[in-house]
Symmetry: C2
Subunit: 139 residues, 2 copies
């Protein structure tokens, strides 16, 4: 996204379509973060309290340290999680949601619930779409 342009360009904002908010950049800011492969999973695993790096890795199971580290950094950078280092030896670090991060969990929960309720409809739509050209009736 913010690759070559430096800043996200906002299209002409045409007046049609009944004030449909065209390029709602703040939304992209959020989706670019939680739309990746691991962010939501990490956030949800911090919902019930702080977790250490290794614990998170075990909880998620199929994440590489590389991606865990990187995603944690990004979430931290955006102020969604807080990283705390305990000067023990060997070192101990834990991560927890910030207030901002916690506040994100609420709208996220709506999405989670929608997914739970509708993901089999989606799956059926997919097989229906794949089986025929388009034929089967939705709506």
């Amino acid at each position: 996204m913010r690759s070559a342009e430096g800043i996200i360009r906002i299209p002409p904002m045409p007046a049609g379509a009944g004030a449909a908010l065209i390029a709602k950049c703040p939304v992209r800011d959020v989706l670019d973060r939680i739309g990746d492969k691991w962010s939501v999973l990490i956030l949800k695993n911090l919902e019930d309290g702080p977790q250490r790096f290794g614990a998170l890795k075990r909880l998620i199971g199929d994440i590489s340290q590389r991606m865990l580290t990187q995603t944690l950094r990004d979430l931290q950078r955006d102020g969604l999680i807080l990283r705390t280092v305990y000067p023990t030896v060997p070192p101990s670090v834990d991560y927890r949601l910030t207030k901002l991060g916690t506040s994100l969990m609420d709208p996220l929960e709506h999405l989670v619930q929608w997914s739970d309720r509708n993901h089999d409809k989606v799956r059926k739509a997919r097989v229906s779409f794949d089986r025929a050209g388009v034929s089967s009736g939705h709506q």
Copy 2:
């Protein structure tokens, strides 16, 4: 995501962390769809009624036909939008939300609102993070 594995693998589901729903695959199904670059933008532009291909392209502005076509197909495949072809010449096609697609707009709206309310906090967190090592206090 569903590249080589065929189906998404579900990690061991450890019993720790107070029943944190680890690999909530339905969520990934949703996020994989709306987490891409254009889906949400397209959906939001269909919120107020059907739109034709060209209209959508103009509304969004900086999308290529390739990505518009492809994203529309994916959304249609998942049963979120309905494609209607009018056998005129030259051909005319429009897209509209299905019931399923409409129902998704609600949880999505929560996310949009969160973004609007918090994206400057996120931006400030970012500059704060980038400026110092980590120093500045969140919470």
